[in-house]
């Protein structure tokens, strides 16, 4: 992804890079082949594995995004 | 007796016209240019004006226009005389309000007849 010339300060560039990383992470997590790993008839804490995996990683991603963006706040 | 005013800058023509008109029994006055003519019109009050076109100071057209502009002179007849016979000249004269137009050289008999007809005689 091209970086903006406007991400002037170093901090912003870092945030931007981190967000890109999260995006890529999400792309991997939410797709095959990782998906197929958890795609089986099993349960964890009584909750189907796939369901748990998807919603769990989703939440983690959200939290990461929140942290990165609101992090040092300016 | 009807009054005729003769206006021309050529002395000889004036003489001939004067003689002619007097012989026909008109009361005649003479002017040699446009300004004289206008003055005489007011004092002499002619019934008819024999008006040359090419004159110094004021041309016959101007005199004709002045007379026609004056509502008191609406009864005054005007016959224009000129050596220039072009149609435009004739049209202009009539447009300005002349009652008739005669080109020089004219026939004395014709002129007299025209004068009489314009004045309303037989």
């Amino acid at each position: 992804m091209s970086q903006e010339k406007q991400s002037g300060t170093g901090f912003r560039r870092l945030t931007a890079q981190r967000l890109v990383a999260i995006f890529l992470l999400g792309g991997v997590v939410f797709n095959w082949p990782l998906l197929s790993l958890f795609n089986r008839q099993a349960e964890l804490f009584g909750i189907p594995l796939l369901y748990l995996y998807l919603f769990g990683s989703w939440l983690v991603l959200i939290v990461l995004m929140a942290v990165v963006i609101e992090g040092k706040g300016d | 007796m009807k009054k005729i005013l003769i206006v021309d800058d050529e002395a000889n023509i004036v003489i001939s016209l004067e003689f002619l008109m007097k012989k026909e029994g008109f009361h005649v006055a003479v002017a040699n240019d446009g300004e004289e003519a206008l003055a005489l019109i007011d004092s002499f009050v002619p019934d008819l004006i024999l008006l040359d076109v090419m004159m110094p100071k004021k041309s016959g057209y101007e005199v004709c226009e002045a007379v026609r502009r004056n509502p008191e002179r609406s009864a005054t007849k005007i016959i224009m005389l000129t050596a220039k016979g072009r149609e435009t000249e004739i049209a202009k004269g009539l447009a300005l309000g002349a009652d008739a137009y005669v080109t020089k050289p004219f026939s004395t008999k014709d002129l007299v007849a025209k004068v009489r007809s314009v004045l309303g005689d037989a």
Binding site: F23, L50, Y51 | S16, T108
Partner: protein
């Protein structure tokens, strides 16, 4: 309790609350204390993404494919993580360029092309109409179901319901009315609707609350929690399968495609663009939205699978999974909850419809209707004073039309698909905007043609592979079209194009349409370099300079009054003055009229207008007030480069054109002279006629009179005859002179020069006029040599000249005191003769005039005191004669105001060479 009227009442009450919120928010905005200037509100408003598709359809999809409902929400999450770049940039660019819709964005980016704007609008309308139909279907279905409480009855045979009994129609009409009231109360320069955003945010909360309520009810009310439900489901093999996704490449491919598709849709759907970009108050709000919006999606989806499973457990058959959120509470006599859920669904539907139709109607008005109307000269719109009323009217009609289209689609094609299916068709349609939009945001090479081609190609493929098949599945088009291809061409089967089988219809469509779209976009964009306007816009969009500085310089100038009038026309007088007044104050002027009509003001006016009628039309209108096109720095540079080449050519051109100018002038002058000569000839002829006829008049008159009356007395008779004689003479003289002149001028004079004694001729002429002089008492003197000089000339002609000069002199001098002197002097190869008098002299301007035919001196006071005798031809003839013999004739006078006056006529004649030696 749950009767028709109570449901309707509750709905109306809810809508009333929405309206009140919107109205209140608008009021607050007008007074400057905006309610929505809050990142949380912004993030919540983005949740308009969740419509009845989410509310009802997700559960339906989950019941069929398990986890397969989820990609639609994962996609936006991923997109928002990138959101800092993409969304933030989009918002900044949109604000800087006063973008008011997605059509406006695309049109503006590719050179302010109205054609592009129109195309995007059409695609958006066609693509989104099914989606609107979906909402109508959901609301009307849920209403019908609720109505039958406590029985659980599935609405069937939608298309068969008579028109006037179709609740969906009333829903459509009601929504149209509501939206019109909501969104077209006034025209805002920035196309922002604060009230709407506030209401949408509120609705998002209601949706979530309602869904949560049902979720909790099912999970903990009907069952013992998450584990319990899943345990129960495991026991049923059919349900157990739903815990996993289909483990096949097609399935994963489908999953990826849907994720990708929803990534695009969360920004490209007209309502999303409107809320996320146009309605955005502050680009920094995007930051909170980046995680808050995905969190919302997370929360609203937690209970989907449990509800689906719960429903399947409760209703093994016979009940549409789409309706579980409603039918489950109903089955358990939870009337209040059911009503709440219904309201939740209604909320989801109205939110979508309001924002979507407002966004679409804005586009239709600004990018479709107005450009056509403005160009349709016969309507004279460009001259109409106040167009804000017209703009609002167009939008109202557009809203109504769009909703009717939605209803139409619903009636005719709504049965064929489950809710989710319809929605995905719309997603695929707006995905066609992705190449041009993102390409425009990150690549400067995109051109107008490329964008047009890409959009058309993508739209065409979409139509062929998704839209038409949807009609085929509803029975509009023959089923063979789908199964065997058009006219039986199997290779062109709409959903297995070129034999590519094995993909679900969405992935299939996505693949081909984006291929065609991107391919055409790149191919045509690369055919030529972007032109000045495109390049400038590319810089503005791709570089997105901070501060929104557009370095455009509108060249040319406009008057402040003109700009003000223009803005007033479209925004209304009040808003125009408010906006411009604020601008004026920010620039230090106390009144609008004091503003400088500089490039800044022009640009500001343009952006104000863009808010009302879209940037393409605004550009056109401002251009009509300013005379020239704006240039960016690049273009100026390019022009300078070219200019040096051009300069060389233009210098050459300059000299050539100057020569041409000169030649024309000379030609004109020559023409003038020719005309004047022509005129003079006419004058001459008419004057000659007059001159000839005058003496003839006297001759004839007197002759006739003498002839008529022989008895005229002698004195008169003599006089008359004398006059006849003299006039005859005059006539003869004139005719002679004219003939002379004619001969001289045509060069046919045949005078043979012989040697003549000048002095002798002088003396003889003096003798001829002596009587004239004696009569007037004028002194005539001469200074002559005893004899000679001899010149080569014609004796009679020279005589003629002397007689002319002498008789002129005696005419003009005063009697008794007049004095005329003739002097002859030889020397220097020529002889000089002068005739001097002490008369009044000749005024400077007349000194040449008198040598013209028929002109005579006017005397000192400029008027004829009396008409002199003579024809006016004497001097011209004399001059011709002298010149014929090689000499010159002119007049000299002392300057005006000197003591002595008078005129001196001088002529010279060349001396033959032999004689020169003698002197």
């Amino acid at each position: 309790m749950l009767q028709g009227w109570s449901i309707v009442l509750a709905s109306l009450a809810y809508l009333g609350v929405l309206f009140a919120i919107a109205w209140w928010a608008d009021r607050r905005a007008d007074s400057g204390r905006s309610v929505i200037a809050n990142p949380t509100v912004y993030a919540l408003s983005l949740a308009v993404y969740c419509t009845t598709w989410t509310f009802y359809g997700s559960v339906g999809r989950a019941a069929a494919t398990g986890i397969g409902f989820l990609p639609i929400y994962l996609g936006p999450t991923l997109m928002l993580s990138l959101g800092w770049f993409v969304l933030h940039k989009m918002v900044r660019v949109a604000k800087a360029n006063r973008i008011t819709s997605i059509a406006d964005f695309v049109a503006s980016r590719y050179g302010k092309s109205p054609l592009l704007g129109g195309l995007v609008t059409i695609i958006a309308v066609v693509g989104v109409v099914p989606y609107i139909a979906l909402q109508l279907k959901a609301v009307s279905n849920s209403f019908t179901i609720l109505l039958h409480h406590p029985d659980i009855v599935m609405p069937t045979g939608l298309g068969a319901v008579p028109l006037l009994q179709d609740s969906a129609l009333y829903v459509a009409v009601g929504m149209a009315a509501f939206t019109i009231l909501f969104g077209t109360r006034h025209l805002d320069a920035t196309e922002r609707h604060e009230g709407m955003v506030a209401a949408i945010a509120f609705e998002s909360v209601v949706k979530l609350a309602a869904f949560f309520a049902v979720g909790l009810f099912v999970t903990y009310g009907l069952h013992g929690g998450f584990q319990h439900i899943f345990d129960q489901a495991e026991l049923v093999p059919r349900l157990a399968k739903l815990m996993v996704a289909g483990d096949s490449a097609a399935n994963y491919g489908s999953w990826a495609a849907l994720t990708f598709l929803s990534m695009l849709s969360v920004l490209l759907l007209p309502r999303q663009f409107q809320i996320a970009v146009v309605e955005n108050v502050n680009p920094d709000h995007v930051r909170r939205a980046v995680w808050l919006f995905p969190l919302y999606l997370f929360l609203i989806n937690i209970f989907v699978l449990p509800i689906a499973l719960g429903g399947l457990l409760r209703f093994p058959t016979g009940v549409d999974a789409d309706t579980f959120v409603l039918t489950l509470p109903m089955a358990e006599q939870g009337e209040a909850l059911a009503l709440f859920v219904f309201i939740g669904g209604l909320s989801a539907a109205t939110g979508m419809v309001i924002v979507e139709t407002i966004a679409l109607s804005t586009m239709v008005c600004n990018d479709l209707v107005m450009p056509v109307l403005l160009r349709w000269k016969s309507l004279g719109l460009a001259e109409r004073r106040d167009l804000s009323g017209l703009l609002l009217e167009i939008r109202r009609w557009a809203i109504a039309a769009i909703l009717m289209l939605g209803y139409g689609y619903f009636r005719l094609a709504g049965e064929a698909y489950a809710l989710v299916g319809i929605g995905l068709i719309s997603f695929a349609a707006v995905a066609q905007f992705a190449p041009v939009l993102f390409g425009g945001l990150y690549w400067k090479g995109g051109t107008r043609e490329g964008a047009l081609a890409g959009l058309l190609a993508g739209f065409a493929v979409w139509t062929y592979t998704l839209l038409l098949p949807s009609f085929s599945k509803s029975g509009w088009l023959p089923a063979e079209f789908l199964s065997h291809g058009p006219f039986g061409i199997e290779l062109l089967r709409p959903q297995q194009l070129f034999g590519l089988a094995g993909l679900d219809e969405i992935s299939h469509c996505l693949l081909w349409s984006l291929l065609a779209n991107i391919g055409a976009y790149l191919a045509l964009s690369l055919r030529r370099a972007p032109d000045a306007m495109e390049a400038r816009q590319a810089n503005l969009f791709v570089d997105a300079p901070v501060g929104g500085g557009s370095l455009s310089s509108w060249r040319g100038s406009a008057r402040v009054a003109d700009l003000l009038a223009l803005v007033e026309r479209f925004l209304g007088v009040e808003r125009a003055r408010t906006a411009l007044g604020r601008y004026a104050r920010s620039r230090g002027a106390s009144r609008i009229e004091e503003l400088q009509a500089d490039a800044h003001l022009i640009h500001f006016a343009e952006s104000l207008l863009a808010g009302a009628i879209g940037s393409a039309s605004a550009h056109v209108m401002v251009a009509s007030v300013v005379e020239e096109e704006p240039l960016g720095l690049d273009e100026v540079m390019n022009i300078l480069d070219e200019a040096s080449q051009v300069r060389a050519y233009s210098r050459e051109l300059e000299t050539k054109s100057r020569e041409l100018e000169q030649a024309t002038q000379e030609l004109r002058a020559a023409n003038e002279r020719l005309r004047e000569v022509d005129r003079m000839k006419d004058d001459f002829i008419s004057t000659v006629t007059h001159e000839l006829r005058t003496p003839l008049t006297s001759i004839r008159a007197f002759s006739e009179m003498l002839f008529e009356d022989p008895k005229i007395d002698l004195a008169d008779r003599s006089r008359f005859l004398g006059i006849i004689v003299s006039e005859t003479e005059r006539l003869t003289r004139l005719i002679n002179q004219i003939l002379d002149l004619a001969k001289l001028e045509s060069g046919r004079a045949e005078w043979t020069p012989v040697a003549v004694d000048l002095s002798e001729i002088v003396r003889e002429s003096m003798e001829s006029v002596s009587q004239l002089y004696r009569d007037k008492g004028v002194l005539l003197e001469c200074r002559l040599p005893a004899s000679g000089p001899e010149v080569m000339a014609d004796r009679d002609r020279l005589m003629q000249v002397f007689l002319n000069l002498l008789s002129n002199a005696v005419k003009f001098v005063a009697p008794s005191t007049g004095r005329v002197e003739v002097a002859v002097a030889a020397g220097d190869g020529a002889v000089r003769v002068s005739v001097t008098d002490n008369g009044p002299g000749i005024a400077g301007e007349d000194q040449e005039l008198i040598f013209e035919k028929f002109r005579q001196g006017t005397g000192n006071n400029g008027t004829l005191t009396d008409k002199p005798q003579g024809t006016g031809l004497g001097l011209p003839i004399s001059r011709q004669i002298i010149e014929y013999f090689g000499g010159r004739l002119w007049v000299e006078c002392p300057p005006a105001g000197s003591v002595a006056a008078g005129a001196r006529f001088i002529f010279t004649l060349p001396l033959p060479t032999t004689q020169k030696e003698q002197t």
